[in-house]
């Protein structure tokens, strides 16, 4: 009888170890690009979002980053880093206020809130002057999300203007 109990205990332990080994966070992402399109519906002009892959200079690209934790364990400290695409300008206020949203003006080396994104320039007569970066100087967007529970999904979005 004691032999059976020992075997059963060992089996439970192996099972628990295996379960621990199988538990994992598994995040996947995909990106959606859309633009606004004015259509006539019931005699009224309405604006709707349509999927798009071609844009004219001056148009706004609506990027949506769809993420999903398909694992069976929570993902933590998720950092979504999105360089502003070359040839585009960030539309101020367009990024979703998800988690901790910050921006970079140095290619992703440092991130700050927009009001704190400053740099110094030399001025006539010597000395320097501190200036707040304009949205066209933003190089990266970053969202830091503390936790993505297992089996859940979410999205963040932002807009840029094609130069």
């Amino acid at each position: 009888m004691r032999k059976y109990v020992a075997s059963f205990t060992l089996l439970i332990a192996v099972f628990m170890l295996s379960a621990a080994a199988w538990a994992a966070a598994d995040v996947e992402i995909r990106i959606k690009t859309e633009k606004e399109k004015v259509v006539t519906k019931d005699g009224q002009k309405v604006t709707k979002m349509v999927a798009a892959k071609n844009f004219t200079p001056g148009e706004i690209i609506h990027y949506t980053v769809l993420y999903r934790n398909k694992g069976n364990e929570d993902a933590t400290k998720a950092v979504i880093n999105d360089p502003i695409p070359r040839g585009c300008i960030y539309i101020p206020g367009s990024a979703t206020e998800t988690g901790d949203l910050t921006f970079s003006i140095d290619g992703g080396k440092t991130y700050k809130k927009p009001a704190l994104l400053t740099y110094e320039v030399k001025v006539t007569g010597g000395g320097t002057e501190k200036r707040t970066a304009s949205p066209e100087e933003y190089t990266n967007i970053r969202w830091v999300i503390d936790r993505i529970p297992a089996g859940t999904n979410g999205k963040v979005s932002f807009q840029v203007k094609v130069k």
């Binding site: 690009t33 400290k77 950092v79 070359r86 999205k155 094609v162």
Partner: protein, 467 residues
């Protein structure tokens, strides 16, 4: 959890945000020039996103990435006509042609076809030619921009004569070659630009060039965070240095090409008056708001020969009537258009005066005259030359043009190039005399006629004996 739910804002906040965004976009200095400055057509805008994360125990996991490409559209723009030379043109004679050379430069952000057409109109004292102006149906011009990866951005550049400068340009995804057909990886063409093309760099405020395109690279876009740029070498063949200029991202590199328009003259209604018509070239890029329609005026100057024939009695001078004339060939002797008579055996001297009364050159000028009845052409009259010689073939006429006298013999052995040549089929009544007269005339009959410029006059005299 759906984190996007956290983004829900009040309607008021969204309204304010939208208004601020609109204000910001309106204030951008480049917004009005967005079509011209910025992204090139066919550019791949690649967005690569990375997610770093940890598991529940804080252990870092393998980052995940995703990319999406969008393509920038080519925006049609009204092309620029740089020059037309010569302007205004001038021609003479119905059916004459005038060739104008136009340099057409694209203003689009990408490659595209520019349709061409030309038409004549606004005629003054002239009919519009039945032959319409001739111009190529279309030209295909390339265009790209300086890529943001270009290292020379922000640094002043001067390109010496025969030197070159190379710029990184966006990958065109091999959308087109230099004629609008599909391109291919490494086809040495990028956004319609190819070796030998004429291009300008456009800053948005000034043009630099022209340059001649040298080496072009057109790599595959690849799978890196940004699509691999191509490059365009620009060679300065202008004979002078170009610059300095400080390149920036988005400066355009636009192609220009010379095209010729050949206009054909209609028929001048009154050669004694000025004539002109206007040729309009139309250059259109499909989809552009407007066409460029430069015009050029062609002034037409056509010659017109007026001829008056006079006579005098050499043997017994008679005062005639009508018009009178003297000639450089016969000093003070007066000729008349009417009222001159004579008796058998007397000598009459005829004078033909040819004048260009038109506004332009009269070319291929020749005159014919049939011997009057009851008369015989006089050869070697004593007054037509001091050099004795055989009467056959004899000197039968003198001509004067441009203050030079030519002595004409019946067998076409006399005459002077550029003044006059003459011959006669005989000396009896009904014989035909022919004269080539004017600048550049020769002794070729037919076909050797000369040129009289406007207001120029030529004279021919010959004598007959009344039978």
């Amino acid at each position: 959890m759906t984190t996007s739910s956290k983004n829900k804002s009040s309607g008021l906040f969204k309204g304010v945000l939208a208004a601020m965004t609109l204000l910001w976009m309106t204030a951008l200095p480049f917004s009005a020039q967005a079509v011209l400055q910025g992204s090139a057509g066919n550019t791949i805008v690649r967005n690569t996103i990375t997610v770093n994360y940890s598991d529940a125990r804080g252990t870092g996991q393998t980052p995940v990435t995703a990319s999406v490409d969008i393509t920038v559209n080519t925006v049609a723009a009204t092309p620029t006509i740089l020059s037309v030379a010569p302007s205004p043109g001038s021609t003479d004679g119905a059916g004459a042609t005038q060739v104008y050379t136009y340099r057409i430069r694209t203003n689009s952000n990408g490659p595209g076809s520019i349709a061409l057409g030309a038409a004549d109109g606004s005629p003054t004292n002239i009919t519009v030619s039945v032959t319409p102006p001739n111009v190529a149906a279309s030209i295909y011009l390339g265009s790209t921009v300086i890529d943001p990866s270009e290292a020379k951005i922000g640094a002043a550049q001067t390109v010496a004569n025969l030197a070159s400068i190379t710029f990184a340009v966006p990958n065109d995804n091999h959308a087109v070659n230099n004629t609008g057909a599909a391109g291919a990886v490494n086809d040495l063409m990028i956004n319609g630009l190819i070796l030998g093309d004429l291009v300008y760099i456009y800053s948005g405020a000034a043009y630099y060039g022209p340059f001649t395109v040298g080496t072009v690279t057109d790599p595959a876009a690849g799978a890196t965070a940004t699509a691999a740029p191509g490059s365009v070498q620009l060679i300065n063949n202008t004979g002078a240095s170009i610059g300095p200029f400080t390149p920036a991202y988005g400066w355009q590199i636009v192609e220009a090409r010379d095209v010729t328009v050949t206009a054909t003259q209609g028929v001048v209604a009154d050669p004694t008056l000025d004539a002109s018509w206007i040729t309009t070239l139309t250059a259109t890029m499909a989809g552009a708001a407007a066409a460029n329609t430069p015009t050029v005026t062609t002034n037409a100057h056509m010659g017109r020969i007026a001829i008056t024939k006079y006579v005098r009695n050499v043997t017994t001078p008679v005062v005639g009537g009508g018009l009178t004339s003297t000639s450089p060939l016969t000093g003070a002797n007066v000729f008349y258009t009417t009222g001159v008579n004579g008796k058998p055996g007397e000598y009459l001297e005829y004078l033909a005066v040819l004048t260009d009364t038109g506004k332009g050159n009269a070319t291929a000028v020749y005159a014919t005259d049939v011997m009057p009845t009851y008369s015989t052409l006089v050869t070697f009259p004593a007054t037509y030359g001091t050099t004795p010689g055989s009467a056959i073939p004899g000197i039968f006429a003198l001509a004067s043009f441009n203050a030079t006298t030519a002595i004409l013999r019946t067998n076409n052995t006399g005459g002077t190039n550029g003044v006059a040549h003459g011959q006669s089929t005989g000396i009896t009544a009904g014989s035909t005399m022919t004269f080539n007269i004017g600048a550049a005339c020769t002794n070729v009959f037919p076909g050797g006629g000369g040129t009289l410029a406007t207001t120029q006059t030529a004279y021919v005299i010959y004598q007959v004996k009344i039978d």
